[in-house]
Symmetry: C2
Subunit: 154 residues, 2 copies
């Protein structure tokens, strides 16, 4: 397993491949974000989206599925997340797009209230098949500490 | 329709009701966030979640569905969002919880590059049935301007 101690600040990674289908875009939008520009091309053509585009929350969900697969491949002892510092939907995501992720670890620290956990901050950027960034975020990840009895560096 | 001109800074609102079911929590997690603590109680019991909890992204999606319904009821001319400034998953969301939203408009401004659009910033807090905040965010919303030819105040 990969623990807090194994996280290297500055480490970059590229991973994931997610093919965005019209069926899934419409299914997600109907359930969670039924704004017209996420449901049909005609309504979207009247807006700055131009054509049917994925809900930004759907892009977050698709990105999470790539992240979880990557965590599994790295056998990372993740414990969820307290939140996201900055989430930007940079360009629309369209059916037919293929998404991928680039990440950089920005910083890490032990939790003082829960010494068995650490927190690390990463910048994540999601690109489409034209290498255009479509979404970015600074995410905070919780991860198990291998040796909870070790002193906390300050 | 409610346009940019109708947005009142400082306005508070309470809206939404979303019953969180185990079936939906597991369905979302299987598709987008298959970490063990979102899939079964036994795995969750070994973590700080205690029992099966919803993916944070699922909570975002459920919140969006409450927001869209509220926008429809207010006939708000929304045009999507450029992003979220701060997203915090404060407490786990469990099957059986019932969620609702409170919002406050923090500020608004016309877009200088796209005079037909305005941007407004809101703090959104999601509560469970015990009135405990489970999630908060500062969201940025794009909205149509009723009179795009009006001068932009600076």
């Amino acid at each position: 397993m990969d623990y807090f101690e194994d996280i290297e600040v500055g480490r970059k990674a590229r991973f994931g491949r997610y093919e965005v289908t019209r069926e899934e875009v419409v299914e997600f939008a109907k359930k969670y974000d039924p704004q017209a520009f996420h449901l049909n091309d005609d309504a979207a053509a009247k807006t700055h989206f131009g054509r049917l585009s994925a809900s930004g929350w759907h892009t977050c969900a698709m990105t999470m599925s790539m992240l979880v697969r990557n965590m599994e491949e790295n056998r990372q002892a993740g414990l969820g997340s307290p939140g996201i510092d900055e989430l930007r939907w940079i360009k629309p995501v369209y059916p037919g797009d293929t998404l991928r992720v680039e990440s950089t670890v920005l910083e890490k620290r032990r939790s003082e209230s829960r010494p068995e956990m650490g927190i690390f901050k990463s910048r994540l950027t999601v690109f489409n098949q034209n290498d255009e960034p479509v979404m970015s975020m600074v995410s905070n990840g919780l991860i198990q500490v291998r040796d909870p009895d070790a002193a906390i560096e300050t």
